[in-house]
Symmetry: C2
Subunit: 159 residues, 2 copies
């Protein structure tokens, strides 16, 4: 069993590190209020606020739901590779909207330990690796509002 | 051949109407700078600005590319049904990211006349109709940066 650690440096938890990365690297996402709230190896939880993201139907804008789910796949890369040397990128996402999102929304996603080992090994050997992530977005009552299936890569910076 | 009209009221062109609808109904999308620039029956062109939407790779944030493409399907509903009586909604979108988007991005999408006739008839008869939209996002040099395939609905307000 892999020892699950929430940080690998003095720079704060993985969640803090990824939120700082978003603020610096993708200011639009940060401005939308999309945040990591928990991040460990193989497991991530994120949030997006309804306030400032509501639409004409009184529910969360589809683009914010997409942004929350899309972020989770990149965040899952952080405990696997150092973002000082690798960056996450997204190749494809399918999002299914299940019901109106009438509260703040929580997003969750996981990676199994076999995928984590493969991505870490390929990134070290080849400078890049690809992985797939299923994410679930739920409302304050625990109802599923959207699901996504995404394909992500980590790539060595400078290649 | 259908007579293609750019407006059906004194409230300005379809493009102006949908931009006003976005500003009022989905303020987050409006703030992202996502706009309709041309809208006629069966054809829409939109834009999103790189400035204020750039990411850690010097290219446009994936969420803004999604937002631009997703909007096009809803906009295409406007020349078919009156947004005073129907609203557009999205059920599913798949987005494929092809290359970094290093300029302002143009989005285009079309609906064929058979689909337009069907949606208009179903909306009138049933209060709702579903349709599929393929959108293409291109950079300032005309290179494809992303494509989407989305499933949308128009629904009667109040049902």
């Amino acid at each position: 069993m892999t020892f699950v650690k929430s940080t690998d440096s003095a720079a704060g938890s993985y969640a803090d590190q990824v939120n700082a990365y978003i603020e610096r690297g993708v200011p639009r996402m940060f401005e939308m209020g999309i945040r990591v709230v928990e991040l460990d190896e193989g497991s991530v939880v994120g949030m997006a606020p309804l306030a400032s993201n509501d639409n004409h139907l009184g529910s969360m804008y589809a683009g914010t739901l997409f942004g929350l789910a899309e972020m989770l796949g990149g965040a899952l890369a952080r405990p696997i590779v150092d973002f000082a040397h690798f960056y996450p990128t997204v190749k494809q996402v399918t999002i299914d909207f299940k019901r109106p999102a009438r509260s703040d929304i929580k997003g969750t996603a996981r990676l199994d330990s076999e995928t984590i080992r493969r991505v870490r090994a390929e990134a070290k050997a080849d400078g890049r690796s690809e992985f797939e992530v299923v994410a679930e977005l739920t409302d304050a009552d625990g109802r599923m509002v959207a699901t996504t299936h995404g394909t992500y890569q980590v790539r060595s910076i400078g290649r």
